[in-house]
Amino acid sequence: MTRPRNRWRHLLGELRRLAGTMTADAEERAMREEMRFHLDMHAAKLRDQGMSDDESRRRAALAFGGSQWVDAARDEYRSRPLEESLRDARFVVRSLGRAPAFTGTVLLTLAIGIGAAAAIFTVVNDVVVRPLPYGHPEQLASVSHDLTKVSLHDAGIAPAMYLTYRRSARMLREITLYRTGSVDASDADGRGDSQLLASASVSGNFMSLFEVPAARGRALSVADDQRGAPLVVVISDALWRTRFGADPNVIGKKLLADGELGEIVGVMPASFRVPTARTQLWLPLRLDTAAAWLGGFNSRAYARLANNVSTAAVQRDLSSVLPRTAEAYPLIAPGLTTKVILEQANAVPTVKWLRDDLVADVAPTLWIVAAAAGLVLLVMGANVANLMLVRAESRQRELAVRAALGASRGRLILHFLTESLILAVPAWGLAFGVAALAVRMLVHSSPIEIPRLAEVRVDWVTVLFIIVTSVLVAVACAFAPAARWFRGGVFAGLRESGRAATAGRGRVRTRSVLVTVQMALALVALVASGLLLKSFERLRAVKPGFDPDGVATLWVVAPEKRYPRQVDYVRFLTELANRVRALPGVTAGGISTSLPLHWLNHNKDPLFVEGTATSKAIPPLQIYSAADAGYFRAMRIPLVAGKLFDPAETQRWNEVVVSQATAKDMFGDSTGATVIGKRFQNLPNGPMYTVVGVVGGVRDTSLMMPPVRAVYEPAVVTGDTIEGSLGHTIAVVARTRGDVAAAERAIRGVVHDLDPTVPTFEARSMAEVVRASTARLAFVLVILGAAAGVTLLLGIVGLYGVIAFVVSLRTRELGLRIALGATPRAVAAMVSRGGLALSAAGALGGTVVAAIVSRFLRAFLFEVTPMDPVTLAVAILVLTASALAASWIPARRAARLDPARALRVD
C-alpha cells in the first residue's frame, strides 16, 4: 500500500489540501453547490414517484438531515494530521479507560522507572556534570603530590613547593594554599558557649582565585595574609544564619578564634563551598615565607590554570620546576633536606580538575547507581513494550478489521504511537513526583557523603529528561507491536485466529526476544548485587583488630587559651579518663588522638630504626598517634609483647607502643618479643624513642586494607617540653556493659562537670564508626539489590506471560498430544522447557554483559574477583529457578487440559 507512487500522490493531495485552506471560501461554495445538487436530484426523484413539488422538497431536505454532517464533511475536507491524531487520541483515551488494569500497570511502571532514572540523572548531573558555581570553573584545578616511593597518594603540598610554583610555574595563572582544621570560637567578651567551627586557613588570594565576592562585607585580601597583620575572618552563610541570626550588622563584630581576637570582615555566599561544604570560617594563613623550614604535607592547594592547557601539560610544567624548590628552600624539615624528600620519596605533582577532584570519591558510586537506574528503566521499558504487545494481541481482530476496512499502515502506526504517547503524558507527572521525592530523600538523608549534594535541584533539566526519556520509551514501546504487526502482515490477525494448529509463532517471537533481554538484564543485576553481597559479607567477617561492640566514643577539644601548657592539658585529660573509668557500667576507658576508620588526626611520619637514621634515605611512613593504656583495654586491642603505658604521672615521654605491622616491617619480628627495648627516631636528628610494647594490628584506614604500621606515643604529664604529640582534639573511648548511648551521655556529663567550656562533638559508638566506614558499600549494595529484585521480578512476570501465552496458542496442539497419549508430565515438561530455553538464552547473554560490566564494580569489591564463578553460578541458579517457577503454573495448566474441550477451542 505504500508504494512510492502512491506516497507521491498522497503528498500531492496533502499539498493541494494545504493550498485548499487558502481558497477555503471557494471550496465552501463548491461544497454547498454540490449539496444543493444532491438535494435537487433527490427531490426530482421523489417528484417522479408522484409526490407534490413542496412535499418532495420537504422530504428530500428531511432525508438530507441536519447541518451537523455538513460540518463533518467540511472537517473531512480540511482535516489535518493533527486533527486525525486528536480523533485517534479521543478513541485511545476511551479504550484505555476501559482497561484500567492495563493502564494503571503501565502508568505505574513508567512512573517508577522514569522517575527513579530522572532522580539519579538529576543527582549525577548536578554533582558530577554541572559546572561549579565559581568564575570560569573550567580553569580551576587542585594541585597535590604523590610520594610514589613511599606509597603515599594525594599527599598535599609543602609550603616550599607552593612558593616555588607560585614563582616559577608558567601554566598557572594563580595558585592558593590552604589548610583545613577546626577553630574554637567564642564571643569577644569570652562569655557564652564556645563552639568548634570547621575552618580553613587560606592564602590571601583564595577567594579572588575562585572569583567569588563576599555576600556581605569583603572577602579576604592579600593584605590580610601578611605576617603580623591583625586577624580578620570571613564566615559562611550558614554560620551567619545560625550563630549570628542573620544579623545585617555582623560586619565589624569581633570573635575569639583559638584565643585570638579577630574581626569579621565578610560573609561568603551559600554557594561558596570550598575547600569543603562544611567550612564555616576562613582565616588568613599568614604563612611565614622566611621560616627556617617550609615542609610538611599538611597543606593543600587550588590553582587557576592558563587557558586551554591540559592537566597533563600542567603536571609536566610543575615537574620541571619542582627541583628548584631544593635550591630556594634547602631544608624542608629539621634534619631533612628538600632534595632528599624530592628524590627519595619521588614527589610527583598531580593536577586534577577541581570538579573531578571534588567528586572523585563519590563518582564511581554515583555512576553505579545511575547504571542500576538505567537497567531498571530498560527492563521496565521492555515490560511496558510487552504489555503493549499483549494489548495489541487481545485487540488483533479489531485492528485487523480496521486494516481491512482501509485504515492505512501509517494510520495504524500512528494509532500505536498515540496510545503509548497518551500513556506517557500522565506518566510525566507521576515520574516527576517520584523523581522529586527520591531527590528530596537523597538530599536530606543520604547514607553516604556526597559533595555538592546541597546544589542538587529538581529543575527544568529534570523535566526535560523525563519528557525525552518517556517519549523515547513510548516510541520504542509503540514500535514493538507495530513491528510485530507488520512483519506478520496486516491480515495476520485474521489468519491467525483461524484454526491452524501451529498458529502464533510470529506473535511469540517478539515477546520472547523482549523476555530474553529482561532475563539477561536480571542476571546482570543479580551478579552485580551478588558480588557486592559477597564483598559485604567478607568485609563483615574481617577482624578489624579491635572489638567495636559496647564501645562509646566522643571527641573533646581543649581550647589552647584555657590549657596553654601541655602539663595542664594532660592533667585535664588524665582526670577526664579517670572519671570516665569510674562511671557505672564502664569496664575500661581511655583517650587517643585518633580512632580507627575515622578521618580525624591520622598523622604520618617516617620511622628511622636506631643506627639507620641518615638524611639520605626516607623510610616508609607510619601512622603516629597518642593514647593511654586505657584506650587499648577499652578497644580490646591485644597486647602481643612487652607492656602498655603507665599512668601519665609516671610514664616516660620517650617510651612507645608499636603495632604488629611496625614490628614486622621495621624490626623484622611479628611476634614482637625481640622488638621490646629497640629504639628509633622519627626525624634523622630527632629524639630517640624506645619500644616498650607491641599490640595487635588494627585496620586503621579501611576494613578493606590490611592493618597499617602504627606507633602509639604515651600521654605524659611531664612532657611539656616535647613538641606536642597530643593535639588539642582528643577522642574519649569507654567500654560499657550497659547502653552505649547512655554511656555517651554520661561521658559528656563528665566533660561538662570537669570544664563546661570544653566543647564535645561526634559522639558515636565504635560500632557506628565501623558501620559508617562501610556505608558506601552498603548503599551501593542496597541500590543494586533493589535493582536486581525489580529486574528479576519483571523478568519473571514477562516470562510467565510469554509461557502462558504460548500455552493458550497451542491449546489445540497440546490437546491433540494428550488425546494421542502424551502424559500430563510430558506435556508439562515440554511447556517448562520453553521457559527454560528463554531463561538459558537470557543467562547466556547476561553472562556476557556481566563479564563486561562487572569490572566497573572493582572499586567496591573485597576479596572477590569481578568474575567470581560461585556468584555467577548462584545468580544463574536463581534465574533458572525463578524461570522454572514462572513456567510451572502454565505448564500445570497445560498438563491438566481436557483434550475434548481443547480440540474445540478456536
Partner: protein
Amino acid sequence: MPANESSGEMIQGMLDMLILKALSLAPMHGWGITERIHQWSDEALAVNQGSLYPALYRLKRQGFIASDWRTTENNRRARYYSLTTAGRRQLAAEQRGWERLSRGIELVLRMQQ
C-alpha cells in the same frame, strides 16, 4: 437519520469500498453513487449523505479518487468523481481484505450456532 432507519449503519471502511466499486465503472456524482449502491444492493443498502460526502472528500484526499465539475444530461453543473490508478489498486486490496473478513465473520457466526 430517516433514510438510514431500515438499513443499519454502514462501517466506514465498507462504505469506502462500495464507493470505489461504484466509481470503478464510470465517473459519477455523489447523488449517482447513492443511487447506484442502492440499486445494486437490491435496495438493501442506503447510503446516508452524512457519511457519503465526508467519505468522498477523504478518498479524494487519500488520492484514491479525483473530482471535476461537469454538466449532467439535464444540463446541470455537478461534481463528478472518478477512480484513480491508486484507487483501483486500493479497491482490489479492499476486496481481498473484505473476502477474508467475510469469511472470518462467516466462521464466527457458524461457530455460534
